[in-house]
Structures are given as structure tokens and as C-alpha cells.
């Protein structure tokens, strides 16, 4: 399958500041793709290149196999982190305006606005001025404005900021529903738990370079440390050289421990070793969270 978006060796410089340095990756169609990185890593610069607000100094961006062109603006929806609306404009008119700028016909836009307003319970607000809306409401309006023209690719920068948990869930469900409908979503956020929950693939950019790429599963496999959590009853005493005890707690007759396996040692061997000695209530691989991986990669000293 042709990736919906191919980033090929993209570099961008602002004066003395290198914003992007030879970044390449592919975004598979129909996925939710996490674009991660600390503040100032170059995420916004990259998004602005994809949305054609700026162009790359070097490298290419392909949309469905073709070099990015102005007409692709209609296929892309972008919800920036710094977002706002015209305050003195009516919600309905504003949505029509933004949709028409994306190439929608007026009647078509009005019909779609009606449908979306009903879904997100905004119908009564369409005739109000934007400044009369609460922040959460405005965020909903912005979300509608982003998806109204039914883009093939949706770029969401911190989509959940400003939402209470209930509304955040509503928006999350809408995002998942759009994905079901065949939309690809690039998702840029600092909230690792929502990455874990929603993303199929991630790319991590740090100091203008790509440092990690892959499906969430693959990444976690790569960064697994062969560590297992064990809980149960009995006195745990591990003496085998195959296992390394990272931490251990004993409370009366109950124990809990984290045990790391030496290379070439399987989890079954640990299980077998424990079976003879204690009663096991819990045995689970300690999988690194995306959060852990992120922190580990971003804080480790730079090489070269």
C-alpha cells in the first residue's frame, strides 16, 4: 500500500537554528500516527511543511506518492496548537467561511455543519458569536472546522488541550470514528497515555532529528528489558546467576519483586524456578511505557 505521506530527507533551517535535519519516515494510510518530541524539537516546523505553510530547504514530501501541491490543501485538515477563531463572527458563518476556503461549496458546507453540530450538541450555538462560547465549546467548533471538508489526512496538534475529560472522550471517539472512515491521523501530543491508547505508529523527533520510528508494538518490543514483575506468598530468595533482582519487597508472608532475566534466559525458566519455591499470584512482563521510552531517549546524552 502506498503510504499516504512520505517524508524524505527533509531539512529546514531558520537563521542559526536547525529546525529539522534529514528527517524521513512514512505514514501508513488508515493509521493513527503519533508525532512525538519534546518542545522545540521541530515538530511544528515539520507540520508546517506538511500543511504547506512553509517549504523544506531540502528533501521532499509526497502525498499519496505525489509531490505535495497546493491542491492537496483540500485533502488535509490541520488543527494547530495555537488555534483560535474570529471572535466577532457567528459560529455558523465562521464554519462556512473556513470550509469554503478549503474548497467546499456553500450549500454542501452548511449541510455538513448541521450534521456535525448535531453530533457535538452545538446546534443552538450556531447563531451565537464566537466570543459568547466557553473555551471547550470553541475547541469543539475548531475541531469541526478542521474535519468539515472530510480530509484524507488529519493533523492534530494537542487536540485534547482545553477539554474536560468528558469532552476529551467525545473528541477521542470522533477521531477513532474518522479513522474507521478511512482517514489517516497524525497526532502530535505530549500526553503519552493518549499515545499509548490511540496510536498505531510513532515517530520521535529530538533536537531536529528523528530518533525513533515504528509501530507502538515494535517499539515496545525493542525497548523491553526482559524484566518481570512477580507477586505471591512465601519467602522469595533468588540465588541463580540467570536472574537479577532489581527490587524486592517482603511484607509478612507476601512478596513482590522485579526480576530481570540475563540474555538467552526465557521467562518460563524464571517461572519454573519460582514454582518450586513460592506461591505465585501474579507474573507479568514489565513492558516499558511510551512515556518511559520517550524520557529515556530525550534525556540521554547526545552522541556526536
Amino acid at each position: 500500500m502506498v503510504p499516504i505521506l512520505q517524508i524524505q530527507g527533509v531539512s529546514k533551517r531558520y537563521e542559526a537554528h536547525q529546525a529539522l535535519n534529514q528527517v524521513s519516515f512514512n505514514v501508513p494510510p488508515g493509521s493513527i500516527f503519533g508525532l512525538l518530541g519534546p518542545n522545540g524539537a521541530g515538530k511544528t516546523s515539520l507540520i508546517r511543511i506538511i500543511t504547506q505553510i512553509t517549504g523544506p530547504d531540502e528533501g521532499k514530501v509526497l502525498f499519496e506518492g505525489q509531490p505535495l501541491q497546493p491542491r492537496h490543501v483540500q485533502q488535509i485538515g490541520y488543527l494547530p496548537e495555537e488555534r483560535g477563531l474570529y471572535k466577532k463572527m457567528k459560529v455558523g458563518e465562521q464554519l462556512v467561511y473556513l470550509a469554503r476556503l478549503r474548497g467546499l461549496e456553500k450549500a454542501d458546507a452548511q449541510q455538513k455543519i448541521k450534521a456535525w453540530a448535531e453530533r457535538l450538541e452545538l446546534t443552538t450555538w450556531l447563531n451565537k458569536n464566537v466570543e459568547d462560547l466557553s473555551k471547550g465549546m470553541q475547541q469543539k467548533v475548531q475541531f469541526i472546522a478542521t474535519v468539515l471538508h472530510e480530509p484524507r489526512l488529519l493533523i492534530l496538534d494537542e487536540p485534547f488541550s482545553g477539554f474536560d475529560p468528558v469532552n476529551a472522550n467525545i473528541i477521542r471517539d470522533e477521531i477513532l470514528r474518522l479513522r474507521e472512515g478511512g482517514c489517516t491521523i497524525i497526532f502530535s501530543t505530549h500526553r503519552m497515555e493518549s499515545v499509548e491508547q490511540m496510536c498505531d505508529y510513532i515517530v520521535l523527533i529530538n533536537r531536529s532529528k528523528k530518533v525513533l520510528e515504528g509501530s507502538v508494538k515494535e517499539v515496545k518490543t525493542v525497548y523491553r528489558t526482559n524484566t518481570y514483575c512477580v507477586e505471591g506468598q512465601g519467602k522469595l530468595l533468588i540465588t541463580s546467576p540467570d536472574f537479577k533482582v532489581i527490587s524486592q519487597k517482603q511484607a509478612g508472608n507476601d512478596f513482590s519483586a522485579e526480576v530481570q532475566l540475563e540474555p538467552n534466559v526465557g521467562s518460563n525458566e524464571l517461572l519454573r524456578y519460582l514454582l518450586d519455591r513460592v506461591e505465585i499470584h501474579r507474573f507479568e512482563e514489565k513492558v516499558p511505557s511510551i512515556h518511559d521510552i520517550f524520557v529515556q531517549l530525550v534525556t540521554q546524552p547526545q552522541h556526536g
Binding site: E15, E82, R83, L85, K87, M89, L101
Partner: protein, 436 residues
Amino acid sequence: MDKIWLVFQREYLVRVRKKSFIVMTILGPLLMALIMIVPVGLMMMSDDTKIIQVLDESGLLAGKFNSTQELKFVSVQGPLERAKQQYLQSEDAALLHIPTINLDKPSGIQLYSQKSASISVITSIEKQLKQELEAIKFERSGIDQKVLDQIKTKVNIQTVSLSDEGEKSSNVGVTSIAGFMGAFLIYLFIFIYGAQIMRGVIEEKTSRILEVMVSSVKPFQLMAGKIMGIAAVGLTQFLLWIVLSSAIYAGVASSFDLKRFSDAQISQTMQGMENEREALQAQEINSVMSGLENLNVPLLVGGFLFYFLGGYLLYGALFGAVGAAVDSETDSQQFMLPITVPLILSFIVAQTIIMKDPNGPVAFWMSMVPFTSPIVMMLRLPFGVPTWELVLSMALLVAGFVATTWLAARIYRVGILMYGKKVNYRELSKWLFYKG
């Protein structure tokens, strides 16, 4: 193009529907009407006749004072102290005391009043005194007043501009005013609506809408749509003002004219003898009318529209760039200065140098530089400008606004996505060379 049109529509409709626009559109002509009506009304209000008591001890001027609508002269008898007492008990405006005077050096004439007398009353009395005393002196030295009137001559130069096309009588007053009005309108329009462009961009910046916008519209389209939309708002407002104020003017004038006409009739019968003056007035009016007729109206209107739009586009782009470079209106001062200086300068210079010498070197160069040419050329146009100068000035103005638009678009493109950064001129010049 489609997108510029969409932006244009939004900018126009949002502004035209604002309450402030509607209020200003209605209030503007009313204010103008007030400016016209209030002085007239005030004049009418102060029209009550003031009574001046005259105590003439010299015996020269008794009964010589002409009572007018404003002042009525009444003789009283002396001595002075008693007259003063009587005056204080009366409600008359003032007491004029003329002692026995030396005709060659009249002094000691005094005006007593309870409230201080107005300048117009004093000058009117002084004028009458002077006239009467002069008449007495003429009589004594044997000069006939009629002879003197014949000697008095009024000169009125008729100006004729001579060119290849033959001679045309021109009226400097009319030409200056026509040019000045045009220049003033251009000046006003650039300032009011240029500032609106800037405010509009700042508003977009502070509401954080721009990143959403530029992902579907090119910054240049956004800027162009905004500048043109606001121009259309301004033109609409001007048009409405003209329509409304001429309606009001027509209404007011028709009710006033009747009165004025009857006044004129009265004064005509009263001043029947002053035919000569009337003839002169008629001649003057005639010269104004012929001055108006001889203005090249199509050229003036065409020139006005061209310099009006050209000047607005040139400055509008710059105002837009300033808006993009700053975060709030308070920060805009440092960048506004270089924009407003040439405008104000051309307007100040206009009133002195250019009016005096509309074809001199200062006028020439200022009508060539695109930053000053819209105002200066507009002033010069009624006086006749060589075709090559006009063409060159227009070409330079077009080149000028293409250049400022290019410059502004580059600053705009970078500036609208910059938040919370204090910008100086060095930073701005860097923005010009950022790659797309």
C-alpha cells in the same frame, strides 16, 4: 483568486455589519450638518438688537449714526454723570460718550457698558465713527464725497492660463480648493483605513486564527483580500456619507434659501444705490463659475481615483506588514512612524510650498516619489501638469505599490506566525530573505 474573493467578502461583510460602522455612517453626515447649521443658528440667535446710548458733547455727530439690525443708536442728554446714572438704570447695551474732540486727533471717546462689549460691537461703532469723522473732514477741506467715490477703484485680476490649446481663463482659488479637497480625502482615507488594516491583522494574531488560515490560504491572498475588503468598506462609507449629506444639505438648503432670498431682497431695496458693488460681485461669481467650468473634470476625477487607490494600496500593504510584525497595537508605534511621516510631511508641505509654487522643484520631486505623490500630485493636477510628468508619476506609483506589497507580503508571511517576540528593524530585514 477565489480565495482572495472569499477573504474579501468576509472582511467587507463583517465590518459593514458592525454597529460602529452603521453609527458612523449615520452620524458622519449629521456631524457635517451640525457644523453647517450651528454657526448659522448661533448668528440668528444673537440677532437681537442692541441699544447704544450716545452722549454727544461735541455736537458733530448727533443723528449721524445709522442704526442697523444689530445696533440701535439713541441720543441722550448730558452731563456725563447723570447719563451714566440713567444708563445704569436702563437695560441698554452701552453708553457711548463723545467729548468735545479735536478732529485731527480724536481721543477721549469712551464706551461704558455693564457687561463688556463684544469686539464686533466695538468695531462696528469704530467704523461708523471713522466714516463720519472722515466725511466731516472731507467736507471741511472741500472734497466732495461723490468725487472720492469715483476715485476709489477695485481691481480684480482675471487669470488666464496660456497653452498650446489656446487660452483659458482660470481661477486660482477654485483650482486650489479642488486639488486640496482631493488631496485631503486621500490623506484621510489612507490614515483611517490603513490603521484598520493594521488593527485587523493584530486582531487575527491575538485571536490565534492565522495558523488555521494560512494552512488553507496563502498569506499573500489573505493580505490582499483584507486590504481590498477594507478599501471597499471605506468606499462604501464615503459613498453613503456623500449621499446622506447631500440629502441633508438639500433639505437644509431648501428651507434656508427661502429666508436668505427674502433677506437679500430687503437688502437689495435698501442698498439700491450700490449697483457697482453688485456688478463686481457678479463678476467675481462669474469668474468662479468659469474657473469651475475650466477645470478638466475628467482628468481630475480620473487622477483622484488613481492616486486614491494607488496611495491606499501602497500604504495599506505597509500597514498590514506592521500589524503582522507586532503583537499589540502599543508595540506598533516604532514601525508606524516611518509610514506616517511622509504622509504628514506631504500634507504640511502641500499647504505652503506647493500651493505657492505648484510647478517648482519641491512639488515636482514630491509628486514623483510614490510615498508622497498621491497627495502632492493631486494638489498639482488642477494647475495643469505636463503629460510626461503625470505618466511618470503614475508609473512610479504603480512600481511603488508593487514593491511595498512584495515587501509587506514577505514580512507578513513570517510575522503572522511569530508570537510573543519583540521585533526590531534588524529582525524585520532578516524576514525579507527567509525562504518560502
